[in-house]
Amino acid sequence: MSNALSRLLETRDWLMADGATGTNLFAMGLEAGEPPELWNIDHPERIRALHQGFVDAGSDLILTNSFGGTRYRLKLHNHQDRAFELNKASAEIARAVADEAGRPVIVAGSVGPTGEIFEPVGTLSIADAVIAFEEQIKGLMEGGADVIWAETISSEEEITAIAQACANLDAPLCATLSFDTAGRTMMGVTSTGYAEIQKTLPSLPLAFGANCGTGAPDLLRTVLGLTEACPDAIVIAKANAGIPKYVDGIIEYDGTPELMADYARLARDAGARIIGGCCGTKPEHLVAMKAAMESHTPTRRPALEMIISRIGDFSSEGDGTGDQSAAPRRERRGRKRA
């Protein structure tokens, strides 16, 4: 499938994605609890300024302000019937900024989790989720998104539903999960597990990887798992800029531009080709990351010790892959019932 992202990737070894949406909108006056998607209609100039900041910092790809844009998320604010409108508006704003950049900038339509738990443990069926994601994705594509960008997903069922919606609408997909629980997703998916899952999705992602989670060291460990399992794949790394702290009434992430620059070099060494930041990542971080990647010649894959010594320790000892997949199991009384 030919699209703007795959064409750009043919000419470039790496692309820089953008930074945080939520935490940066806070700095622009978003109130705690307010749905950011409403700003696509109520304050488009602020969303435009957010994108412009990233493009000016050198981002080759920007995500639309539509993370919570499914009807399941919007219904919390009684805006469930505005899914199409809010998503379309988000893509139009990003499209306009991208088209004026004077260089190719990809508009990626952000699709976040519904917040619901899927059957059989929860109540949402994949079929119902596909309908909701189709509604969101139609809006994003009509507004001018080049690709759909699933992010912060934690369950196999949910990423499958998004991929099915993309397949139904012929929309190209990039897909990142959030590995935030001892190196796995909240629902227990490991990096190597996801490398297998993505091969079976109804729409094969043109790029896949990890975003958010618990900090740059963990995210790089996940990227190593993905690139080891799929050495030829286009892998995405979008790490948080450190961890959140509460300073003078606002949330501040403690990762410095220097730390994020070194994270970007390590991500390149680990084999990632699309590199950006998630929560806490501001334009100043991206400027440092771009400079670092431009002057960096990828070297051998970093060992875990190298990651620790350069950007800090992991949040958990193992991540459920390799030797640890034979991980602790509880001693049972010997009779497991079906």
Binding site: A32, P35, L76, V121, M186, M187, Y246, R329, R330, R337
Partner: protein, 233 residues
Amino acid sequence: MADEEDDIILSELSDDELVLQMHDDLYDGLKDEISEGVNILLERGWTPYDVLTKALVEGMRIVGIDFRDGILFVPEVLLAANAMKAGMFILRPLLAETGAPKQGKMVIGTVKGDIHDIGKNLVGMMMEGAGFDVVDLGINNPVENYLEAIEKEDADILGMSALLTTTMPYMKVVIDEMTAKGIRENYVVLVGGAPLNEEFGKAIGADAYCRDAAVAVETAKEFMEHRKHNQTA
């Protein structure tokens, strides 16, 4: 080991065997088996309180440990919690009748703007599994909901959850309002959610940040012991 694959007849097990089997069945999320086990123990003359603590609470404690240690993940824990709920459904009215000892009462809810209730539900179920009374306010709670509920329910503990960077500061709004009304010290405030950390919990004035549901239960128990100690002192 063919004989071990034979069907287990719960009613043929001794009390000790049955309780251990119920721990395994909770671990595996088998709710019909848990209901059956609870009924058998009650028929054998166990007090509802003993069934709760020795079979269910102990079983959920094991689930909690393995969740904390990264052996079990959310789907398995939700299944286990559902199985426990089935047992609680039978025990709750009996516990009320018999006036069994209470651990304490917790009001819990996800803050305004946040739809995520997975973590909050887990904490609620694990707290209930540990013998606490839990009043669940659901998602998207403004400050008034919390204040009204803790007063009306005469709660010991307020638990707040946020899963988004955009909603976590709202926890401070609630705590500040409690302080302004002069009632902050009447309650233990516990906070949790993926983007939080201990330092954040301290900075907003919570009593503790709880990394996961198992830690929340341990922390709540510790605080309740202090409270009881202080009340009797």
